[in-house]
């Protein structure tokens, strides 16, 4: 029996998470000693406290983005029975980036700024979110039309269709775009954390809490589903339904991530593999560990991207790949069996 929970492993990852969080707050493009924070905490308008606020915001954002990406990668790899699945395999993100770059290209006068909801959702994110929802609707309307036995292969294939269509449009946008618009689109494609306010972070957390809980509650079935639909059906588990619901939840989560951070590659693909190579736990705990490790790696990548070449900020996606690839290669080489 795979054990369902291990307090030791959980605490080790939690400690790592806290240490990374500390570094993320401490280091940045401007060096501020902690004494300055405490001395100036009384005056809220002070510069150090503003910087601190920004850093805490970006820390919270990075943690959630990393957790969501790793979780959805982990779930998709199990549900689609495909070790190459990552959160972007369903084509959700390409719709988001495509819509967002279109909005940058067209650059129409800000109609939405009148709407009060802008305190919760920035305009850019709003476009990305609409794009994600569009590709999400395409995915499910296609799924309904296609009648086939191999349910787990249908979703990636539709994802590829959506992906190639929207990236073609994106390429078209890039060819037309002016140089100053290009830089923005470029950042978006690699993945960078957009600066957001505390309200928006709160909204982000509130939206993602329900899908995450839902996925974790279904996680116990994933071990059965890996042996195939017929096998799980003979044990009284409706794997078609669980797969469909998990994918809906992941679509919501990925849309949120894409709308605040673009498509950060690699995390969703690599972290589940790392967890699976290092540990041997039930899918429920595996999901939790994936979320923790995803948050840790993304926080560190964020810290590095802010501080390494300061004052310039590099796109986050570069660092996730630089950090992730060697670690996975190392684990694959070391691990026997």
């Amino acid at each position: 029996m795979k054990s369902n929970f291990s307090i030791k492993v959980f605490i080790v990852y939690l400690m790592l998470l806290l240490i990374s969080a500390f570094f993320s707050i401490y280091y940045g493009s401007v060096n501020i000693s902690f004494m300055q924070f405490f001395s100036s905490s009384s005056e809220l308008e002070d510069i150090p406290s503003k910087i601190l606020e920004l850093r805490i915001n970006s820390l919270l954002q990075a943690a959630l983005v990393g957790a969501i990406l790793a979780l959805s990668g982990c779930v998709l790899q199990r549900v689609l029975r495909n070790p190459l699945a990552d959160p972007f395999i369903l084509g959700i993100s390409s719709g988001g980036t495509c819509f967002l770059s279109l909005s940058i290209l067209i650059n129409y006068p800000p109609l939405f700024s009148i709407i009060s909801s802008q305190t919760f959702i920035p305009i850019k994110s709003f476009h990305a979110f609409i794009g994600c929802i569009v590709s999400f609707l395409i995915l499910f309307s296609f799924r309904r039309k296609i009648k086939t036995v191999n349910d787990e292969y249908v979703y990636p294939v539709i994802g590829i269709i959506i992906n190639s269509f929207f990236s073609a449009i994106l390429m078209m946008v890039i060819t037309i775009a002016k140089p100053e618009q290009l830089a923005e689109i470029h950042n978006l494609m690699i993945g960078t954390l957009q600066p957001i306010t505390f309200n928006q972070i709160f909204f982000f957390y509130a939206m993602s809490i329900f899908p995450i809980i839902f996925i974790l509650r279904n996680a116990k079935y994933f071990d059965f589903m890996i042996f195939g639909d017929d096998f799980s059906k003979s044990l009284g588990i409706n794997s078609l339904k669980i797969r469909c619901i998990s994918i809906v939840m992941i679509c919501i989560l990925v849309s949120l991530v894409v709308s605040t951070a673009g498509s950060i590659g690699f995390i969703g693909l690599i972290i589940p593999h790392m967890i699976r190579k290092i540990h041997r736990f039930s899918p429920f705990f595996e999901c939790i560990l994936c979320m923790q490790l995803g948050a840790i790696i993304l926080i560190n990548a964020d810290t590095l991207s802010r501080s390494l070449f300061s004052p310039a900020q590099l796109p986050l996606g570069i660092f996730t790949a630089i950090l992730g690839a060697p670690i996975l290669a190392f684990i694959l080489i070391r691990k026997q069996v």
Partner: protein, 253 residues
């Protein structure tokens, strides 16, 4: 309590492409029966077994267990009542034999966790029965074909379901384990008062294990009787479409 009865009434099945695979299949079996289902490749044996096990639903007709329709029985209860051995099963990575055996139903696996003992008594017994005790900690992907089949059989034996559907259980087994399996099936059917359905292409195996024989040809139920009658009638030639030479080859052994 009256005897346990498994009954199929007028089963028809067609694929989504409207190919009719099964036509008008009726049968009724009681507890203790070991039924062997014979037929050509593509005759519809596996499909029939999947329908009976509740994995596919029939296009028309009813499956009755003790006069209850299989559709009315709840999913969890159905999974406790029926076990199914697939013809071939995907081997997951990161799974060893014990972890696979504990994948029974969710309720059982919860109880298992509480006891937290090293190797539960049931498990080591079942593993010893199928001669795989020394492979208990081995990864599934490292098992040989026959060992993997035996692990799957051990899992079904642990579940103690009332109705077993074995889709070519003898496919990968060597002679020794095949004979062992015959004994196990007979013991299981008697001890648990169970019904066992077996599909097989091995006539000798079928002859040893079954007390009822039925045969499918092109989706039509062509034979259903006690085993002795079937073997005394020599109708294999007709069933499998053998010509004279083939038959001589078979019986000359």
């Amino acid at each position: 309590m009256s005897a346990f009865v498994f009954k199929a009434e007028k089963i028809f099945y067609s694929t989504p492409n409207h190919n009719i695979l099964l036509k008008d299949i009726n049968f009724e079996y009681n507890e203790g029966d070991i039924v062997c289902l014979l037929g050509n490749n593509g005759a519809g044996k596996s499909t029939l077994i999947k329908i009976c096990a509740g994995i596919l639903s029939a296009s028309f007709g009813n499956i009755l267990i003790n006069k209850n329709n299989i559709k009315c029985i709840g999913k969890t209860q159905q999974s406790q009542l029926i076990s199914w051995l697939p013809q071939s099963l995907y081997r997951a990575e990161n799974f060893n034999v014990i972890e696979f055996l504990s994948l029974n139903s969710l309720r059982v696996s919860k109880n298992m966790q509480k006891s937290n003992s090293e190797l539960p008594f049931d498990f080591s017994n079942a593993l010893r029965d199928f001669d795989i005790l020394d492979q208990a900690k081995k990864e599934l992907i490292l098992l040989s074909g026959g060992e993997w089949k035996r692990v799957q059989l051990a899992r079904l034996w642990l579940r103690k379901a009332k109705i077993l559907f074995l889709d070519e259980p003898d496919g990968d087994l060597d002679l020794k384990h095949k004979i062992n399996l015959v004994g196990k099936c007979k013991e299981y059917a008697q001890k648990n008062k169970a019904i066992i359905f077996i599909t097989s292409h091995d006539i000798h195996f079928a002859k040893m294990v079954a007390n009822k024989i039925c045969a499918l040809n092109n989706g039509i139920f062509v034979w259903n009787s006690e085993a002795d009658i079937f073997w005394s009638l020599n109708i294999l030639q007709k069933l499998y479409g053998l010509n004279k030479n083939d038959e001589n080859h078979f019986y000359s052994k």
